[in-house]
Amino acid sequence: MQADQNLDCKGLSCPMPIIKLAKTIKKMNSGEVLEMLGTDPGSKSDVPAWCEKTGNVFLEQSEEDGTYKFYIKKK
């Protein structure tokens, strides 16, 4: 998937990934896609929940070798 913006949260644990995600999304334009990387298993449920709460679109998530990858489209 093509991303307009990248965010690396590898190694970080709760709540840092969500704080960074919110800050990054805030600076993006509507319709742009963010690719976020992280290693906290909590993010698997936290990121979709945050998207639902804020109205941003959670596109997809995958996992490889302990790194989770999320795609989020700004509303």
Binding site: G11, S13, A22, K53, G66
Partner: protein, 405 residues
């Protein structure tokens, strides 16, 4: 004969995906009631203190040491086996991985842990023993402790948001992730989990085979620690989130889960206290009533709560939250546990005596709410406060009035 199918299905439904946090809340409350019946309701910080005291003892600093070894300290063992339980459960669910965060985060972990140690000892209570257990045990101090957590969490969250803008390098830089459950050659991880369960069963049977009642109690703490750790990791139960989330994302999931667990523990504890249930006559009825009630109402708990609230938010886990995240492999939380363990004996040796001396008796009361309100009044008061908290969290979830993100 059953095929492997059904058991495999059961295993996958337990470890395939996270449990809702409220499910964890219910199960943890039931375990807390069991701990109360066995000896004393759930607490955590005194276990950290004991481990730290043993560390100082080994290093030759006997003034901060203790004669009680970890192997005979029920709460220290409970803590250790919560870590083991969370480790096993993260191995089973392929969520284990040693995650080394950037150096700035590791420092925040250590400082957060040290602050929690000061808060928990100076205020006589952490989020688990002082608040979750304390409120369910109708301890007056739990109320001001909670107010302190709220203030501390709010301030520390503001700091984190400021840090992100002003000092972004703290949370950036090199990070490493090792031994993850979804990498190559990970078959050994689930086997290691089973081996650890076998080890715990062996320890449990060794302790409980003793003729001494104290040893049997310790054996049960080993076993319950393992179970608590697994429940905590699967449900990602987190009291920090219960206090932080309304100010951060506004989600009410964590507050609801914690409120539910307190509600269930409240019912169990009240019955135990009211009827003086427990422990083969070892404790007199009054001693049972006063379990989980601490001499910290009101200012002592408020100050301790603020310091603890700052620490848990910076570290990203309270006393118990640190344990299960450490078991899952977050090195930042290993640092928090280390900071807690080192600072707790120091604080107990120097800060606590000073606090007790400076504060007047009326600000560190050992107050059991039913003594002034009766059982009915005390339970209604706690129910009312839980209801207010629930309404605030739900209202804020809709309106986002207090949420920063």
């Amino acid at each position: 004969m059953f095929k492997k199918g059904v058991l495999r299905e059961l295993f996958d439904s337990l470890f395939g995906k996270s449990w809702p946090m409220w499910v964890g809340g219910i199960l943890l409350a039931m375990m807390n009631i069991l701990l109360f019946v066995i000896k004393y309701p759930w607490g955590s910080s005194s276990g950290y203190t004991n481990i730290g005291q043993n560390l100082f003892q080994i290093l030759g600093v006997t003034s901060l040491g203790t004669k009680v070894p970890i192997s005979l300290h029920a709460v220290a063992l409970l803590n250790i086996f919560v870590v083991v339980g969370a480790f096993v459960s993260s191995l089973f669910s392929r969520e284990f991985g040693i995650r080394i965060s950037p150096v700035g985060e590791l420092v925040k972990g250590f400082v957060g842990g040290a602050l929690m140690a000061i808060g928990a000892t100076a205020g006589a209570g952490c989020t688990t023993g002082g608040f979750f257990t304390g409120l369910a045990a109708l301890s007056a101090g739990a109320l001001t402790l909670a107010a302190g957590f709220m203030i501390g969490t709010f301030v520390a969250l503001r700091y984190l948001l400021w840090e992100m803008e002003a000092l972004p390098n703290i949370s950036m830089g090199k990070s490493f992730t090792l031994l993850t459950g979804t990498g190559k050659k990970t078959g050994w991880q689930r086997w290691l989990g089973w081996i650890l369960i076998a080890v715990v069963l062996f320890l449990f049977s060794t302790y409980t085979a003793s003729n001494s009642g104290a040893m049997k109690i310790i054996g049960w703490h080993v076993m319950i620690g393992l179970i608590l750790g697994m429940i905590l990791q699967r449900s990602r139960y987190c009291i920090v989130r219960a206090f932080r989330e309304p100010f951060m994302t506004g989600e009410a999931t964590a507050p609801v889960a914690v409120i539910l667990s307190i509600l269930i523990a409240l019912v169990g504890f009240t019955v135990i206290k009211y009827f003086g249930v427990g422990n083969a006559g070892e404790f007199a009825a009054r001693a049972i009533e006063m379990k989980g009630v601490y001499a910290n109402f009101w200012l002592r708990a408020l100050i301790g709560g603020i310091i603890f609230g700052l620490g848990m938010t910076i570290a990203g886990g309270c006393a118990v939250g640190t344990l299960w995240r450490a078991g899952e492999g977050h090195v930042k939380l290993w640092m928090a546990a280390l900071g807690f363990v080192i600072m707790a004996p120091i604080s107990k040796g120097f800060i606590v005596p000073a606090v007790k001396k400076i504060l007047p008796e009326s600000m560190q009361k050992h107050l059991f709410l039913p003594d002034i309100l009766g059982y009915t009044g005390a339970v209604v008061l706690v129910l009312f406060i839980l209801l207010l908290w629930f309404m605030f969290a739900k209202w804020n979830e809709k309106t986002g009035k207090f949420s920063a993100l």
